[in-house]
Symmetry: C2
Subunit: 246 residues, 2 copies
């Protein structure tokens, strides 16, 4: 039985202001919760699950978490969930600190104001698929702890390091590797292969800001054979990475 | 001034049942509405816009549409919109008939139960980017006229033909070209280039159904260098197309 006060507390974590104040976030769904637990990246505080789900997964959970496992009912889960169709379990995790990123000998992503939480989550999942370890985000990029971001990473949040920082300054400090900007013109992705570098992805509507575009060493583009004006930002990230990674 | 009855009518078009009964759908946002108008693929019935937007776009609209242009207020648009942040204009279009598809001398997409409207819209936009003219969908694929689909196509709906049909039967009738299944194993996308063929994409959670997988001539896959279990369906579609299109 979930108390009214505690239900309200969890609902408050749907909003960034309260996630920042409490230094924690929620994760939902069996796959996401179990992957975050086993990644050991985020300390788990509480788990709320339907009886049946907890029964089936308790043995696994107990390898990583000794705190309270709260049995809740469907209607209670619905109340605290940020999803339109809640899914069996919700957990509260502590946020990770903002860790510095080393960019040598690898490819990292740099996101300039990605606004849509679904896009950010999908990009984190893409990074994880291709073995990208670090994503550096502008301060106006969607919050990585937004429930929709957490959901659409499908657990990859536990394996990819996401840093928020003042991008222009950060790029200035990392001129030891090349900066490649994904753009509507430039060198074709078919003609470029990298072992090291920063791949800069722009905002959904406005693209890459002028200031950052000027800092790019090379523009790279996805050749278009049809008529659409642009591609979704996450799709473009996936396509570029799939071609340039050596 | 929008009448209560008419506001209710437009709200009803948020739901497939009413779209089917009325044979029409809504499109929102300046870019989407103008692109659908100029594509001439769908007959426009009504346009509701903010005064300022209509003023700026009337000349263009009148090239394609002689019907009523209704000025509405912000709060009225909010009432009839299916978006969380409504955007200046909403139009009602008539649905297009389900047209047959020729598969010779080109690449077409085949979707097996893509459930998420955002994914379907994004896939239509990807198809349009790469010049794919036809998408063939299983009967359980999300509705192409769902407001979220229309929105995420960003206007590409006017340039891509989407057919809904019983997939196994349709594939049987189109064995004159090869069927390639996007899967977690198979031939690498780096080793395959096509001028003609059907590219089969599976459901977000379950992948491609067993029945359809058996019909595939070849499985193709995106090489994984990291740890994520899978990629988002739209992202995977974009990556595969970007590699295999000759």
């Amino acid at each position: 039985m979930l108390s009214k006060t505690h239900a309200k507390y969890i609902q408050s974590l749907h909003h960034k202001k309260f996630r920042d104040a409490e230094n924690c976030f929620i994760a939902e769904g069996g796959k996401v919760v179990l992957e975050l637990l086993s990644s050991k990246k985020f300390r788990c505080r509480e788990i709320y699950g339907l009886q049946q789900w907890l029964n089936s997964n308790e043995a696994f959970i107990r390898k990583y978490f000794s705190g309270p496992l709260e049995v809740i009912q469907d209607y209670e889960l619905e109340k605290i969930s940020a999803l339109t169709t809640p899914s069996q379990v919700l957990a509260v995790f502590e946020k990770d600190e903002n860790r510095p990123v080393s960019v040598l000998n690898k490819i990292s992503l740099v996101l300039d104001d990605i606004q849509d939480p679904g896009n950010l989550g999908t990009i984190i999942r893409i990074a994880d698929w291709f073995g990208i370890k670090d994503i550096v985000c502008s301060l106006h990029t969607a919050d990585m702890y937004n429930p929709k971001v957490v959901q659409s990473t499908m657990g990859s949040l536990g394996r990819v390091n996401v840093l928020y920082t003042e991008l222009a300054l950060w790029i200035q400090q990392h001129r030891n590797v090349k900066l490649y900007a994904a753009a509507l013109d430039g060198k074709s992705i078919k003609d470029i292969q990298l072992r090291e570098g920063l791949l800069l992805i722009g905002n959904e509507g406005k693209g890459i800001s002028e200031q950052l575009m000027k800092m790019a060493d090379e523009k790279i583009t996805i050749p278009k054979t049809g008529a659409a004006e642009s591609l979704n930002a996450a799709v473009a990230t996936g396509i570029v990475l799939s071609h340039i990674i050596f």
